[in-house]
């Protein structure tokens, strides 16, 4: 009934009236304690003195928590690596690491008290940058290698071989709602936690370990987050753990919602990368082989860095057949905040590497970069194997590129850009069309499972619950549409309810763009089970076969009989038929051998392409995105408005990563960009002046996904690589398109001017 329609976000009317509730909006219970953590100011140091007596004595303070107060395991690492303590012990490993937390009767009292701590340090050598870590051989895990063919041989016989490098900055999630949680203690030591998290089950499990409890003692739930983007996949556990510990210790409810600055220094971000390549290719620009080295700054702990860096390797081909490839990956430990999941999960960094290579080849050969890209696309003539051995069976990148080229008038506009540049000295334009191919599935295979719980009440109203979390993407709306479609009832009859570990257990994070694919399928199966009960009942009543029972438009027909959905449900209830069901789904047909980096990690791929046109000021390096055209494949869209919302939003977020968003750590390892005054995400006027987003018309998942749709959360983020390539094109005009600009991301005014200046100086000598 609501399938394929642009139903507005289920909470939209509550968003606009302020009625939508986030953690910090919960009513304050009597006795509620407010928490404020005390943070390390040093990147790597021994704590030689920790005097919290003034903190304890401050007005309103009820207790002060440190590592010594933790009865169980002082660790919230997501993969059991044991390197993410809630509170530091004797040693701090990054500036911003929590050392203690104050619980007080008001937030003001907690913050006032926290500032009274006396902490003395003895500094230890700190590894802050990728270069530091490389020199110190500070690897979190051994270097990983993914390879296909013989790269060495292919380069030996290549017509052209070039080398180059690219530095890519990190990114703060800057969800508008900072991290937060509230814990309410119950009987038997039970804890009920509202957590702004993408991964309630993990928060549950970690808190159980922290407090020597079982998972069944801890309930984690949430209705929504105020943005996540990966930042609340693992990082939420730290905050929730502090509230649980405070409740455990005091028997009182406890809340912690981080101040923005604390959030930005305490919690992990997108990994910054240093990329080196050596690539061989022929006169057409077609790759014969490539050495690609991807080095990342993981920060002080493992977190999800292994999988993130794996995904960078998986996407170092993007939509291209690499022919022969040696993709190496170094994962460096540094004394900076532990980097974590962020929309794309390493994919963007791998993808921008190969897009940089495409631009480098085109400039080397004096060709249109799009021609070089096209000649390297995966195709069926034996050029459909990824470096990890999975065949690309559903490739629509060529069709999407062709569609976009025509829609957005690529050739004429590229010529116009060249003409503009020929007549303008100080303002230059650039244009680029880049594709996206993004693998869908958690590459950690066991995570590809989901559960749902559907109740049909005797009045015909439907209660929907599933393991996914709502962070703005409209997951709940889509899943309610799926359930409404299954029962053939109005969307409004399906009640969306808070994600809750009491209802659906052992869930995976809402991550990897998989929310709808997994939970939608599970919810559909739950609904189908109930529907089959109803159909059996109706068939019996009508004396026909269950397969001949038809659910349509709020009614059920069986033989000569017809009921409204409500009437049939009522009758079924009276006849003692079960009207509640769980549903479960596990993605079929995927496997991966991480030792060898081969297998079939992805169920399918999502595709898209973007054409960006930009303008730069040659004197200052300032830039502006003039126009963006996108064609993106969401399969058969479950909700075009929500899908377009993900594409527009993902694109602008990606453009921010590559232009104005710059994380700056000082030489002591202290983050200097920890608030919106210093860390600049795109503002309203930064969106493209002209912004045309089209869903790929022929889109249909070749795999049996929910209604043949495709995941959309992450892939559009990488469409913004076209902005970086377009800026590269604009800068290259300064050197008459002879040289690849030494431009690195983010392309701030400073980075752009530096690249321009280098070209100008090279031109003079």
């Amino acid at each position: 009934m609501a399938k394929f329609q642009s139903v507005p976000h289920d909470s939209a009317h509550k968003h606009v009236t302020g009625e939508a509730i986030y953690v910090d909006d919960l009513p304050c219970l009597p006795g509620l304690l407010h928490l404020q953590p005390g943070l390390s100011t040093r990147a790597h140091a021994k704590i030689t003195k920790l005097d919290l007596s003034a903190v304890r004595a401050a007005p309103g303070v009820v207790c002060v928590l440190t590592a010594h107060d933790i009865p169980g395991t002082n660790d919230v690492s997501p993969t059991g690596t044991g390197d993410d303590p809630v509170f530091a012990g004797d040693e701090v490993v990054y500036a911003g690491q929590a050392i203690f937390a104050v619980a007080a009767t008001s937030l003001a009292a907690a913050r006032h008290a926290a500032a009274l701590a006396i902490i003395e340090y003895e500094d230890l050598p700190a590894i802050l940058t990728i270069a530091d870590a490389r020199a110190a051989k500070a690897d979190l895990e051994p270097e990983q290698l993914m390879f296909m063919g013989s790269t060495e041989e292919s380069l030996r016989f290549a017509q052209h071989v070039i080398i180059g490098n690219l530095r890519v900055g990190g990114q703060d999630h800057f969800y508008l709602e900072s991290q937060g949680a509230e814990c309410i203690p119950g009987e038997d030591g039970d804890l009920s936690i509202t957590s702004s998290t993408q991964h309630p089950s993990e928060v549950q499990h970690l808190i159980a370990h922290l407090l020597n409890k079982h998972s069944h003692d801890v309930r984690v739930h949430l209705r929504r987050m105020g943005g996540g983007f990966g930042g609340k996949e693992t990082q939420a556990a730290l905050i929730a753990a502090m509230t649980a510990l405070a409740s455990h210790k005091t028997g009182r409810p406890a809340r912690l919602v981080l101040d923005r600055d604390d959030d930005m220094v305490m919690t992990g971000k997108r990994h910054d990368f240093e990329i080196d390549y050596k690539v061989g290719f022929d006169d057409r620009g077609q790759l014969s082989g490539i050495y690609l080295d991807l080095a990342s700054r993981c920060g002080c702990s493992m977190d999800l860095s292994a999988a993130i860096n794996d995904r960078a390797m998986f996407h170092a081909d993007n939509a291209y057949f690499l022919n022969n490839a040696d993709i190496t990956s170094r994962r460096f430990r540094t004394n900076t905040v532990s980097n974590t999941a962020f929309r794309g999960f390493g994919g963007p960094q791998g993808m921008i590497a190969i897009e940089r290579v495409m631009d480098a080849i085109a400039l080397h050969l004096g060709k249109d970069p799009l021609e070089v890209r096209k000649v390297n696309l995966y195709n069926k003539m034996g050029r459909d194997f990824t470096p990890y051995g999975q065949r690309v069976m559903d490739n629509v990148a060529p069709q999407i590129i062709e569609d976009l080229e025509a829609r957005a008038d690529y050739a004429a506009r590229r010529a116009a850009v060249r003409a503009f540049n020929a007549s303008h000295k100080y303002v230059r334009r650039g244009i680029a069309l880049t594709p996206v191919k993004f693998g869908i599935s958690f590459t950690t295979t066991f995570l590809n499972q989901a559960g749902a719980l559907v109740h049909v009440y005797a009045d015909g109203s439907v209660h929907l619950n599933h393991g996914g979390t709502e962070m703005g993407q409209g997951l709940n709306t889509k899943i309610a549409q799926i359930v409404a479609e299954e029962f053939q009832i109005d969307f409004a009859k399906v009640k969306i309810t808070a994600t809750d570990t009491d209802k659906v257990p052992n869930t995976s994070a809402t991550a990897a763009s998989s929310g709808t694919d997994l939970n939608g399928m599970a919810a559909q199966r739950a609904a189908q089970t109930i529907k089959s009960h109803l159909a059996d009942f109706a068939a019996k009543e009508a004396e026909c076969a269950a397969k001949d029972v038809i659910f349509e438009n709020g009614h059920v027909r069986a033989g000569a009989k017809e009921w409204t959905f409500e009437a049939l449900v009522k009758a079924a209830y009276m006849a003692r038929i079960s009207l509640s069901s769980t549903g479960f789904y596990a993605t079929p047909d995927i496997h991966y051998d991480r030792e060898k980096h081969t297998g079939k990690p992805f169920y399918y791929y999502a595709y898209g392409a973007a054409l960006s046109e930009v303008e730069i000021d040659v004197l200052t390096g300032e830039s502006k995105i003039l126009r963006v055209d996108i064609v993106h494949d969401v399969g058969k869209s479950l909700n075009p408005a929500l899908d377009i919302g993900q594409i527009e939003g993902g694109f602008v977020q990606g453009a921010g990563w590559l232009t104005c968003e710059e994380l700056v750590f000082d030489d002591q390892g202290v983050l200097r960009t920890h608030a919106p005054s210093t860390y600049k995400i795109p503002a309203c006027s930064d969106r493209p002046d002209v912004f045309n987003v089209t869903l790929y018309e022929d889109g249909e998942n070749t795999k049996d996904t929910i209604h043949k749709s495709k995941a959309v959360g992450e892939p559009p983020f990488m469409l913004a690589i076209s902005v970086f390539s377009a800026i590269t094109d604009a800068v290259a005009s300064v050197g008459n398109y002879k040289t690849l600009p030494d431009l690195h991301a983010p392309a701030t005014p400073e980075a752009i001017l530096r690249a321009i200046t280098a070209l100008q100086q090279a031109g003079e000598t």
């Binding site: 642009s6 507005p8 939209a12 009317h13 606009v16 009236t17 302020g18 509730i21 986030y22 910090d24 909006d25 009513p27 401050a58 309103g60 003001a108 009292a109 999630h173 969800y175 508008l176 709602e177 929504r224 943005g227 983007f229 101040d259 923005r260 303008h424 100080y426 303002v427 703005g472 303008e615 000021d617 004197l619 200052t620 390096g621 502006k624 929500l642 377009i644 919302g645 527009e648 939003g649 993902g650 602008v652 104005c660 700056v664 200097r672 608030a675 919106p676 005054s677 210093t678 503002a683 309203c684 006027s685 930064d686 969106r687 987003v693 701030t748 005014p749 400073e750 001017l753 530096r754």
Partner: protein
């Protein structure tokens, strides 16, 4: 004298006796009134999630979007406060809200109340809905989910929906001077707040309380409280001083009262030169420009405040007042060293007088920041020359972000004065600029970039009409 702050909140009267003078409107709404629709995203006036609308019959425009996180409660005295909870009437969504719902303008929803309120203020002011205007109206509202496109689509459509009943403006009543006093429960500090109503009263009060903090828009002082957790003992709010925000001009000069807000000085400054208008437009956001004052931007002495460089270049004079005594100094002499201004205890900035450029002069000001709108300058360069025939008779080049104070580039100026306005001489002046400044490297830019870009801005100024500009820059005038 009175110790009761009174205003209306969503149409209902509120009276607060001796409230904490530095309690923010945001915290009060959320904690004391459980109106949690107004969100905290940053507590520093940079994200707009806490935007509320304040109606003031004496303000232009009447309905002002403000960041509740840095509005202190007593400043609301006599005003009409509307939060997101007060926009819909009896469950009927306001056109702004309907438009946002139907155009899919919310995703996670956390920033949405702020967008609603910025657009609501604009709606009630009958504002235009072209994209350029909307970019400006919404520059102070960050959204991380939507990429803004659907929000703009909604804003363009907001007048298409049927009108609904809206909360009326409360007529401000002339009341006694507000004077508050209370003891801070955490620190035991006695906190006082005064809102004088005349310049003479302000001058007398500040003479009596020279250690007081002068509160204007609170766009800086607010952060001392929300971020540094400073306890401010005595506040003197200049927001009610009659005539303090006056903007007057004659043929030769523009006089701006120190209490004039950016929003109100924008037109007059833009008339001096289009690039100056563009500079003011890019200061903060609508919310910040509705609050922050020209005087505050000068008096706080920041090396990266955006007003001092263009005003110095234009040769602005400050009028300083202490008690009954006034003195005038050149703006450039006001800044002595980082955090140190030429201000005696009890002395305050009363007005700034800006000579108008005449046809024998050239002027321009440029700002460079990582983000175009609503960012703090990495670098600001303002340039003024007077030409006699071919020769430069007068030059004032002033920079922000190049030194510990806003400062002139004397060596660069000297390289041009008495010389022809030519490419060769300009290039020499650019080289000389390196003697003027040893800029810092920080999170906004490196020293090298600052110097190179500053030199290039001089070149941009020389190019004049041929200077490059990007499609995004507004060209006024």
């Amino acid at each position: 004298m009175r110790n009761i702050v009174s205003f209306t909140l969503n149409g209902k009267a509120v009276e607060l006796q001796n409230p904490d003078p530095t309690q923010t409107l945001l915290n009060w709404l959320r904690q004391s009134r459980t109106l949690t629709g107004t969100k905290e995203g940053c507590a520093e006036g940079d994200c707009g999630a806490c935007t509320v609308v304040i109606g003031d019959p004496n303000a232009t425009p009447t309905w002002q979007a403000m960041n509740a996180c840095i509005v202190f409660l007593p400043t609301l005295d006599g005003k009409t406060v509307i939060t997101v909870e007060g926009v819909a009437k009896d469950g009927n969504l306001h056109p702004v809200q309907r438009a946002l719902v139907e155009h899919h303008g919310s995703q996670c929803g956390f920033c949405t109340p702020g967008f609603v309120m910025s657009l609501y203020a604009h709606y009630r002011n009958d504002g235009a809905v072209d994209e350029e205007t909307l970019n400006d109206v919404l520059a102070g509202n960050l959204c991380r989910c939507t990429g803004y496109a659907p929000i703009i689509r909604a804003a363009k459509a907001m007048y298409d929906y049927p009108k609904v009943e809206e909360i009326a403006l409360t007529a401000a009543t002339k009341q006694d001077t507000l004077a508050l006093s209370m003891t801070d429960p955490l620190t035991g500090t006695k906190k006082q707040y005064f809102a004088p109503q005349t310049l003479d009263a302000l001058a007398a009060l500040y003479t009596d309380h020279p250690d007081a903090t002068i509160l204007a828009g609170g766009t800086d002082v607010g952060l001392w409280v929300t971020k540094k957790h400073a306890v401010l003992e005595t506040l003197i709010d200049i927001g009610r001083v009659a005539g303090f925000a006056e903007i007057a001009q004659d043929k030769n000069k523009l006089s701006i009262g120190a209490g004039a807000r950016y929003a109100n000085a924008y037109a007059a400054l833009g008339n001096l030169h289009p690039t100056l208008g563009e500079m003011v437009r890019r200061i903060g956001s609508t919310q910040i420009r509705n609050a922050g004052t020209i005087g505050g931007n000068i008096a706080n002495g920041s090396p990266i405040g955006d007003m001092p460089p263009p005003l110095i270049a234009l040769g602005a004079i400050l009028v300083l007042r202490k008690g009954e005594t006034r003195r005038r100094i050149a703006l450039e002499d006001f800044f002595i060293a980082y955090g140190q201004q030429d201000l005696a205890p009890g002395e305050f900035v009363e007005a700034v007088i800006v000579p108008k450029p005449d046809p024998s002069t050239r002027f321009a000001v440029y700002k460079i920041s990582k983000r175009f709108d609503q960012d703090i300058s990495a670098l600001c360069g303002a340039f003024f020359v007077r030409l006699q025939g071919e020769d430069v008779s007068e030059a004032r080049f002033a920079f922000g972000g190049m030194a510990a104070i806003p400062a002139r580039a004397k060596a660069a100026e000297a390289a041009l004065i008495g010389k022809a306005w030519s490419e060769t001489n300009l290039r020499a002046a650019m080289t000389a600029l390196a003697q003027d400044f040893t800029p810092l490297s920080d999170m906004r830019a490196s020293a090298d970039y600052r110097l190179q870009a500053a030199q290039n801005l001089m070149w941009k100024f020389y190019l004049g009409e041929d200077a490059p500009y990007l499609a995004r820059e507004m060209h006024h005038g």
